[in-house]
């Protein structure tokens, strides 16, 4: 393991071009810098029509009637479609990714504000929007269920009366761990601390909203769909099932995507509407939602109401953790997670600690809110799990009067315990936590910060230091355990080396800014010695890439990255045989030095991979049994998840007069195993840390008692700007994954997982003089002010 301290290298002229892993500028940047990105809304097809969706103005209402006559007569309108019309084609409902159903267009009732009710297709965006105003819907408004805590009360309004025999708003129950064993440990513990903790509903809000361009060619029978999807292959299969179009006649293209963060994993009604519209009108149809539509109707994140309990000895040995969770899933269970994991990977709530017992019981309910739940770089709910454990550990430190860093160091899983099976059954592949923690403390100057805090407290100033240590579980996943609607979570990869030694690698995953065109070229380059500049990376087009489940849950590098490395090794194995023929030696006599085979003991005799490529496609003889060409394909099924970890330290100042929180410093030390492109990793970490500032201090999708969404624009849903975040201080350690071909673990969501508890812990630490042990996110000035006055209250 190496331990390296990374500092911003501000002005280096970065023209390195490593043949393999290392810092390298991004291959995709030139088109973005010139305004030549290819986002969905940039697609313009001849004769293209525009689709706009009419949405429910209230959270819960029965639809009594819809009059579309005035809209149909509006200038430029080509079609107006309601749920009743879709029902005639059996298209009014579609499956969600969690084996529930969701209305494409409402037929019976609307179940959340912003739900899709009808759509208009017109000559341009403006004409379509004009016509929406002319659709007359008669509603019988019903009482909504807004507070998840009241969803199961007797007499609560029934939301899902569409489900046969449904009499209440119960969605599912789930448990993990050993209840009796945990109870026994709690019974003999010296200290037990309990805390109610809410992780409020937030929204990924990528800068590009969701949308699609659908183009059905009736003669060919082929549907082309440009859409904002993180999982083009999975979407294609689902469209084939839902719409009945043969899968080979559907091409899903997700070109450049303006940020995803999980928001673009589900299939939204708008995509299906665009497909219906192109079939009905015979023209290409574009649908792009506006920002309000994105915020009120697409995949939200979190919304867990948790009670955490921790049991320990008096000297700070953590014995057990127990939690009870009420999960608000909105009107439809649209969670995008492996089907056997209805709570995602929340089961890793035992965190980074070696404990004796753990137990979680969860109840999920329907409410009159938008569906979703797994999004916003959450690593399938590990955000909630890490927030819970890292908050409750800080509560314990407070109770014991121990330093929170010391408490964590005392309880870490030790390096010799890996692979480590947690009390909830997760097998952590590798880890070495203490050096990561120590590095973060060194970078922060932890002891000096504590001294500074003491001095400031004496002067009445409010300074807080917050620590969070996380273990992530990414790279879903082994197909025996993990699938989405029956589709195993493996990923394909194809590599073809051209006669001149240039190559193309085709991925089943897709980039929303992660830099795949660079990183995957580097992965292949490392294995086969062709410079990354000579390797074209194709992704985001189902006609031109192998099947796989897409990019989310930090799974691209752990799964698809493994596939890319292994397919390159297969090509290299074939190249070795061809090289043995070219050099007239046996395969065993060849040595690989990145980019060429050498004859052992005779270094003058060598052939490069480029020479081999030409021979593979040339007219000369190849060794017995070897076909021409130099290419291969693979489908990689991971044997386990990978488990990155990290130590984060946040320093905040709280203004005692205004209760404004300022994040002064943030130190993030990440261990994501083997690092392919440090520049890209650092960028991913920076972005996640900023998300964390947003969630901890600013962001929340709130509702009033009638179910009106109060976060329906970027004026009401506050996202950090450059003024709210500090210059990030990053460092890293390297503990490779033992089962990943190159030891890489994935990093895309680590910072989003790890930063909110660090920030909240810092704010709570700053408020210690007021006797505050916990305050819920978002820690806006008013909520901090209330906490300072002993009125800390849950946000929902």
């Amino acid at each position: 393991m190496t331990t390296v301290h990374e500092r911003p290298d501000t002005f280096h002229d970065n023209d390195q071009k490593p043949v393999g892993h290392g810092r390298m500028l991004r291959k995709e940047d030139p088109r973005f810098l010139r305004g030549r990105g290819r986002y969905v809304d940039d697609v313009q097809l001849p004769g293209m029509l525009h689709l706009a969706i009419l949405r429910a103005p209230v959270a819960h209402a029965r639809i009594l009637g819809i009059d579309t006559s005035a809209a149909e007569a509006s200038p430029g309108v080509k079609a107006v479609v309601t749920g009743a019309m879709l029902a005639e084609q059996n298209l009014a409902w579609m499956p969600t990714l969690s084996n529930d159903v969701q209305a494409v267009l409402a037929t019976d009732k609307v179940r959340f504000q912003g739900q899709e009710v009808a759509f208009v297709v017109a000559d341009d965006r403006y004409a379509a929007r004009d016509a929406l105003e002319l659709i007359d819907v008669e509603y019988d408004v019903l009482d909504p269920v807004v507070d998840a805590r009241r969803a199961l009360e007797p007499g609560a309004p029934l939301i899902r009366d569409d489900l046969e025999g449904k009499t209440n708003n119960h969605c599912f129950d789930w448990e993990t761990g050993d209840e009796a064993a945990t109870e026994a440990v709690f019974g003999r513990a010296d200290v037990v601390v309990s805390q109610d903790i809410v992780y409020p509903r937030v929204h990924p809000a990528p800068m590009e909203t969701c949308g699609a361009v659908a183009d059905f060619d009736a003669v060919e029978g082929k549907l082309r769909l440009w859409s904002t999807t993180q999982a083009p292959h999975a979407h294609r299969t689902l469209y084939a099932i839902v719409a009945g179009i043969p899968e080979h006649k559907i091409q899903v293209i997700s070109p450049d995507i303006g940020g995803g963060f999980g928001n673009k994993v589900p299939i939204y009604p708008g995509y299906v509407c665009a497909i219906v519209a192109t079939i009905v009108t015979g023209k290409p149809v574009k649908w792009m939602e506006d920002r309000s539509e994105n915020l009120v109707s697409t995949g939200f994140a979190r919304d867990y109401i948790m009670r955490g309990e921790i049991a320990a000895t008096l000297d700070g040995r953590i014995l057990a953790i127990r939690t009870n969770v009420l999960a608000d899933h909105g009107a439809f269970n649209g969670t995008a997670a492996p089907v056997k994991y209805p709570a995602g990977f929340f089961g890793v709530f035992t965190g980074s600690y070696d404990i004796e017992a753990a137990y979680c019981r969860m109840t999920a309910v329907y409410t009159n809110k938008a569906p979703g739940g797994v999004a916003y770089a959450c690593s399938f709910r590990i955000t909630e799990a890490v927030y819970l454990v890292e908050r409750i550990v800080d509560c314990l430190a407070d109770e014991l009067g121990m330093d929170p860093a010391e408490l964590r160091l005392k309880n870490f899983i030790r390096p010799e315990q890996f692979p480590y099976t947690t009390k909830t059954g997760w097998v952590y592949d590798s880890g070495n936590y203490e050096p990561t923690m120590r590095l973060a403390m060194d970078m922060a100057g932890y002891d000096a910060l504590r001294r500074e805090q003491e001095e400031k407290r004496a002067r009445g100033e409010l300074m807080g230091i917050g620590i969070a240590f996380f273990t992530e579980a990414v790279g879903a996943g082994p197909r025996k355990d993990m699938d989405i609607l029956g589709l195993g979570m493996a990923d394909g990869c194809e590599l073809r080396v051209h006669p001149t030694g240039k190559a193309v690698v085709r991925l089943s995953v897709q980039s929303q800014g992660q830099g795949h065109e660079t990183t995957f070229a580097q992965i292949v380059a490392e294995e086969i010695g062709i410079p990354p500049a000579d390797i074209d990376v194709v992704h985001g087009d189902t006609d031109n890439t192998p099947f796989g489940l897409g990019t989310y849950g930090s799974r691209s590098t752990p799964v698809s990255g493994a596939a890319a490395a292994l397919v390159a090794r297969k090509v290299r194995d074939k190249a070795r045989i061809i090289a043995s023929g070219m050099l007239e030696v046996s395969v065993a006599d060849l040595e690989w030095e990145k980019g060429a085979f050498l004859v052992k003991g005779d270094p003058g005799k060598t052939v490069t991979i480029q020479e081999i490529a030409l021979r593979a496609h040339g007219a000369g003889d190849l060794p017995e049994g070897i076909e021409g060409g130099l290419e291969s394909q693979i489908c990689y099924n991971p044997s386990n998840l990978t488990y990155p970890h990290g130590a984060y330290i946040c320093v905040v100042d709280v203004d005692p007069g205004t209760a404004q929180v300022k994040v002064r410093r943030f130190i993030a030390v990440d261990d994501c195993g083997t690092r392919i492109n440090p520049m890209i990793i650092e960028g991913q970490v920076h972005g996640g840390l900023t998300d964390g500032v947003g969630m901890a201090l600013m962001e929340m999708i709130a509702f009033d008692e009638d179910g009106n969404c109060l976060g329906a624009s970027l004026m009401d849903y506050l996202i950090p700007t450059a003024l709210e975040v500090p210059d990030w201080e990053t460092g890293f350690t390297v503990t490779p994954s033992p089962h990943h071909p190159i030891g890489a673990k994935g990093v895309g969501e680590s910072a989003t997982v790890g930063s909110p508890p660090a920030i909240v812990n810092a704010v709570v630490d700053a408020l210690k003089p007021f006797g505050v042990r916990h305050a819920d996110m978002p820690l806006t000035p008013s909520r901090v002010w209330d906490a300072m006055r002993g009125n800390a209250r849950p946000p929902v």
Partner: protein
């Protein structure tokens, strides 16, 4: 109605609806899709272009209001095939990931450097504070703008020494005040 304006040094005349937004005019009518839109409420800044050298949010400007004025978009940032130092800085310092906010960020950054060739980190943060990036966490954007400032200063110094240098001349020209660009 008919509107005539200069976009990236080219005069264009089009028949438009009076309510057409400048961002839609640029994207849908002229096909300049480098300018994006993200919020409709002038909060996100992905739609920033220059109107007579001033950065504006083109989702809250009517195309008709730009009539008779000069508009510059990201497609007009590079001159003579050479990337502007701001564009180079964003690449060198990893100032972009998904690329969606990038055109707006670069237009603001260029305008800042035209007025203040040596901005501090705080001044850069203030300048881009009307724009949202969900990917980068802003630090690399700040570094990108500083990279451009430092390299422009170096190029300008080189021009003073050897005025024949074509490459440095390109960069120095790109650093002139926005008002003189058309």
């Amino acid at each position: 109605m008919q509107v005539t304006m200069t976009v990236n040094d080219v005069e264009v005349t089009r028949e438009i609806e009076g309510r057409l937004l400048l961002v839609h005019f640029l994207r849908d009518v002229l096909g300049l899709t480098g300018t994006h839109w993200g919020c409709d409420t002038s909060n996100c800044g992905t739609c920033v272009v220059w109107l007579d050298g001033e950065p504006v949010k083109s989702c809250t400007v009517l195309a008709a209001m730009a009539g008779g004025h000069e508009v510059r978009t990201v497609e007009g940032l590079a001159r003579g095939g050479e990337l502007d130092p701001v564009q180079q800085g964003f690449m060198q310092c990893h100032g972009l990931q998904c690329g969606f906010c990038t055109p707006g960020m670069m237009m603001t950054a260029r305008a800042l450097l035209d007025r203040n060739p040596d901005p501090t980190e705080a001044e850069i943060r203030e300048a881009i504070s009307g724009q949202i990036c969900r990917c980068t966490g802003y630090a690399t954007i700040v570094r990108s703008v500083r990279w451009a400032a430092v390299h422009e200063a170096a190029a300008a110094a080189q021009v003073t020494e050897t005025t024949e240098s074509d490459d440095a001349g390109e960069i120095a020209n790109a650093g002139q005040p926005a008002g003189s660009l058309s």
